[in-house]
């Protein structure tokens, strides 16, 4: 029996992949993302980068050359290698922070929407609180209190971005809750927990998944912003840190485009990739949204 289920899952995956292949946005986004993931994983292995290893003063802010394809930064470090290493951090922070945000947001949304009454009121007030809190001041304060390690950054971004998901999941749960098939499951004798996990969650999942992809884009951008503002983890290379140092060292005014352009473009491309993927998944998983 489980082999039949396995076959069905394979078939579903095949169907999904073929719809995906015909979706240009998705393919583009997927392509860019795969490129960056491969580069981030292999790059630092082939071209290792140590942020604490400075070059000589004379080597600072050199334009691209054969030995340094993207030039050097203000401390004489190779920008190209920095870029490769930075990908890892940006992607890792983005993905992990999103995982936290998604779990928290989905759990709160499901429980709040399904159980309703007092629980819903309390949870929604908390959600609203996080929703309207000015993000930047909050993040600054948290960073100041918790410190600027990469794990704290992941935590901070996760904690400040779950509220949107919670709201979205809650509305979907509210509407699903009234559907006749849920009434039927109740009539069979299922308890709340079973209903939420077995029936509400799978029906909410397409929404959550598409939402997650988009939040990942936001999370990567958030990390970049934080680092740019100087709140990032200084012990690790990240695109945001590169931008931070680039501006700090006056690379913009001195025309050292090779320093700030590459990380900027990298962030834009990755965020774009996730956004395209998010739209593509939304279209595929919610066929009603397909353009005629």
């Amino acid at each position: 029996m489980s082999t039949i289920k396995k076959e069905m899952r394979m078939k579903k995956l095949e169907n999904f992949m073929s719809s995906f292949r015909s979706n240009t946005m998705g393919m583009l986004g997927g392509g860019i993302l795969i490129f960056f993931i491969v580069v981030s994983l292999l790059g630092p292995l082939l071209f290792p980068f140590n942020p604490l290893e400075f070059g000589t003063a004379g080597n600072a802010l050199q334009p691209p050359s054969l030995s340094h394809p993207l030039g050097t930064d203000n401390l004489g470090r190779d920008v190209f290698r920095n870029l490769l290493a930075g990908g890892r951090v940006s992607l890792m922070v983005g993905i992990l922070a999103t995982v936290i945000s998604m779990f928290l947001g989905t759990a709160v949304g499901l429980i709040s929407g399904f159980i309703g009454k007092k629980t819903d009121i309390i949870l929604m007030r908390i959600t609203d609180f996080f929703l309207v809190l000015p993000w930047l001041p909050l993040v600054l304060i948290l960073a100041a209190i918790l410190g600027t390690s990469v794990w704290n950054i992941i935590l901070v971004i996760g904690v400040t971005s779950w509220a949107g998901t919670a709201r979205v999941v809650r509305s979907q749960t509210l509407s699903l809750k009234e559907r006749p098939f849920i009434e039927r499951i109740r009539a069979i004798g299922a308890d709340d927990k079973t209903i939420i996990v077995r029936h509400i969650l799978p029906n909410v999942f397409p929404l959550v998944f598409a939402n997650t992809i988009l939040i990942t884009a936001v999370a990567i951008l958030s990390e970049t912003t934080l680092s740019f503002l100087g709140l990032g983890d200084t012990t690790r290379a990240s695109w945001g840190m590169m931008l931070h140092y680039a501006f700090q060292s006056g690379a913009a005014s001195s025309g050292a485009y090779w320093y700030f352009l590459p990380p900027g473009i990298a962030v834009v491309l990755v965020v774009l990739a996730f956004t395209f993927l998010g739209y593509a998944f939304d279209e595929i998983l919610n066929p009603k949204l397909k353009r005629r």
Binding site: I4, F181, R184, G189, N203
Partner: protein, 336 residues
Amino acid sequence: MDNKEKIVSVKDLRVTFEIKQSFLQDLFSKKQKIVKAVDRVSLDIHRGEIVSLVGESGSGKTTLGKAILNLVPTASGEILFNGTPINFKHKKEVQAFRQKAQMIFQDPYQSLDPKSLILDAVAEPLEVNHLVKTAEERRERTIKALEDSGLAPGANYLYRYPYELSGGQRQRVAIAGSVILDPDFIVADEPVSMLDVSVRSGILKLLLELKESRQLSFLFITHDLSLAWLISDRIAIMYLGKIVEIGSADAITKSSVHPYTQALLSIMPIPEVHRNRERNVLQGEIPDPTEVPKGCRFNTRCEHAFQRCFEEEPGYTTISSDHQVACHLATEVKHD
């Protein structure tokens, strides 16, 4: 009939809902609007019997059906299942009750989880109640339930999704999901009203077969009096939360007393040409359920209404051993 064992006994049941008002309405109106969905209803269902609950929207028939299964909260009155009240405290008691009393819903397009395989949908009652131990047993019992519901070979349906099946097939899946627990009593809420006419009799035949083979009792909820006539032993006519007439299928269709029943019978569509058939198409519509008319609630549309009908709510008059009616006309007739 009275000597037969009662499987369900409803006594003086009241189910009310509050209407959610807008903020402004709340501010300006004095009292909370209440809908008396079920207004002091008593009903007995005997073992092996099919009782139909017939009424239009707002009659309270679906609410009554759900109340009997403990799916909506009740305001007052008593519901007994196999002699025991159903206001259970413990989860185990509730679960045991649910195994014996099941429901079939109206909309086959909405009553199955679109993301669940048929196997999972039908087997779920077993899992939720911890009635199966092995995957093999689960599969076997599901196949049997599907085949008992007319979907054979059952194995072919296990790994399909609801969207792959027609309305009639989906309804059979829903029925399979209900009978797999081997219940004693089923509430069928308009089980065929959303199906094509040509498919209906198949489902109705199935319900009758299940009644015979498994000694099931049914509460059949419908707005279609002709279906009720076809399938039931007894019919109860509901209007605005009250049973206005109840009797055997023959008594109701051949010798009804209540003007509402008679009006329903006269307008019933039949596949015959009756150009000048006497149809008593009632004027107006069912009154606002938050403002039930004083006296007999049918007085706003009844052509026979007289003084008493506007002052006093009629009690039940017994016409014969299995025929009761709530109408002042009946008592007048009796006194003649």
